[in-house]
Symmetry: C2
C-alpha cells in the first residue's frame, strides 16, 4: 500500500505518559509515520475495557515534540481511543497501537489489561490495532531488543491491514537473544489468587489481590505461553466477536429446552 | 444431575445492592438453590473486566435475609467474584450469575459491561456463568416478565453445565409479550460516539462520553440484536478465548513475513 501522506499512528497505553514502554514505542513509530499520543494522565493498569461514565473527561495538550503530538486525558485507555478518534484527530488513524506495556498480557491476562482494552477499542472502530507488552514489570525495563520486532510487526500491519474486528496481542520476552516471531493461539490458563489478608489500625480486615498465572496446557506448543517460555515473540490474532461458535451450534440444537 | 445438597448460586452485579435487578435475580435464585450475593458497594457500570490493584479491598457482611448471604465489597464486579471464590465461599459455586443489569449488554456492549465481566471471570475459573440484562435503564424497571425466562435458563445451566471457558450473555427486551428464547451470535456493531462538549466555570473544555448503538448487519436474523428487536430473549454463548481462529490460520501462513 502506498501512502500519499505518511500513515497516521495513534498511540495509547495504560502506564501513563512517563512510562519507558511508551517512549520506546513512540521512538519506533515516528520513523514509520505521523504519531499522535493520547494517554491516561496516570497509571490505569488492570482497567480492562472500562470507560468513564461518572465524571467528565478533560484533555490536556502537551507541547509537541519533534512532530509527535501529545495529549493527556483523565480517563482510561479506552476513553483515550474514543476521544482521539471522535474529537482530537482530523482523519482516521491507519493503526491504533497500545503499549509497550510493562508486564505480560498473554493468555487470559488480555481480559484484565487496559493496554489490550485500547487495542480492542481500535478494532471495534474498524481500525487495524495492536497491543505490545514486554515481560518485565520493572519501571526501568530495557526495550532495546523488543524494538526491531515492534517495528517489523507495525509495518506489516500498516501495509497489510487486519480483518475488521481483528486485533493483535503481541508479547515479548524480556531477554537479549529473542528468537523468531510466532503466530499463536491464546493459552488456556488462569490467575490463581493468593489474597493477602491484613488488618488496618481499626482492626478491620482488608485484602490485596495477588497471585500467579497457571498455564493449563504447558505441553501445547501452539500457545502464546509456550512461545514466550521458549524465547519467541508471541502474536495472537484476537477477535472482538465473543461468540463461542462451537457451543453456539450445540445449544442451538437444544433451543427448545430453553423455552418457558 | 442430582444434588445431595442444594446448588450454590453466587450472584453479583454492577449496579450495587439496592438495584431492582439484583432483588429480582435473588428472588428467582433462592427458589433454586443456596444463594450468596457479593456485590460492589456502589454502582460500577462500564467497568468491564477491571480489577482493583491500587487500593485494598474491604468486605462487609450484611445481615442474612431468609437464607441469602449478602456481602458488599469496595471493588469491581470481577473483584467480587475473585473474593467470593477464594475467600468467602466454603465450596465452589455451581453457577455464577451476574445482573440483572439495568440496560442492554448485547453485541459489543459486552466488552464495556461490568455485569458481563463478572460472568467472564466465573468462566475463567471454570464455573458455569451467566450474565442477565434487561433492556431498560430505568431505576424502577419492571422485571416481572423477565423472571420466568431467567429461572428457566438458570435451571438449564445448573442441570447441564457449560463447557469450560464458556459463559452466556442473556438479554431480555423490556416488554410484556416476550417471545421465545433464541440462541444467537454476537451482532457486528459499535457505539457511535457523540461526545458532549462543555465548559467549566474556569473556561476549561470537558467531555461526556455518550452515543448510540449502530447495528452493522440489521438484516442478519441470527444475531442478538435482531432477536431483541423482534421481542425474543437472546442467549449468546460466549468464550473466554479471544483467538481469531480464521485469521490465525491466515497469519500463520505468512509467519515468515513477520521475522526480523
Amino acid at each position: 500500500m502506498k501512502y500519499k501522506e505518511k500513515p497516521l499512528i495513534l498511540i495509547t497505553n495504560d502506564d501513563g505518559i512517563k512510562a519507558g514502554g511508551l517512549v520506546a514505542l513512540v521512538e519506533v513509530a515516528k520513523r514509520i509515520g505521523d504519531v499522535v499520543v493520547v494517554v491516561p494522565n496516570e497509571s490505569y493498569s488492570a482497567m480492562s475495557h472500562a470507560i468513564t461514565v461518572k465524571h467528565p473527561l478533560y484533555v490536556k495538550e502537551i507541547k509537541q515534540k519533534k512532530g509527535v503530538a501529545l495529549y493527556k486525558v483523565n480517563g482510561t485507555p479506552v476513553d483515550c481511543i474514543k476521544l482521539a478518534i471522535n474529537k482530537l484527530l482530523d482523519r482516521t488513524p491507519d493503526v491504533v497501537v497500545s503499549g509497550i506495556n510493562h508486564g505480560s498480557n498473554s493468555s487470559v491476562s488480555i481480559h484484565y489489561s487496559g493496554t489490550m482494552g485500547a487495542a480492542r477499542e481500535g478494532a471495534i472502530n474498524g481500525i487495524p490495532s495492536v497491543g505490545f507488552s514486554l515481560l518485565s514489570h520493572s519501571y526501568d525495563a530495557d526495550f532495546t531488543y523488543a524494538k526491531p520486532y515492534i517495528k517489523k510487526i507495525l509495518k506489516h500491519v500498516i501495509s497489510n491491514g487486519l480483518p475488521i474486528g481483528t486485533y493483535l496481542n503481541v508479547n515479548i520476552p524480556d531477554i537479549k537473544g529473542l528468537k523468531d516471531v510466532k503466530v499463536c493461539r491464546q493459552a488456556r490458563g488462569k490467575w490463581v489468587e493468593e489474597l493477602i489478608e491484613r488488618e488496618d489500625p481499626r482492626n478491620r480486615k482488608y485484602y490485596w489481590l495477588t497471585g500467579y498465572f497457571k498455564n493449563f496446557e504447558p505441553e501445547a506448543t501452539d500457545t502464546d505461553e509456550w512461545a514466550l517460555e521458549h524465547g519467541f515473540v508471541s502474536v495472537v490474532p484476537c477477535t472482538i466477536d465473543t461468540t463461542d461458535c462451537k457451543y453456539y451450534k450445540e445449544l442451538k440444537d437444544k433451543e427448545d429446552e430453553l423455552q418457558v
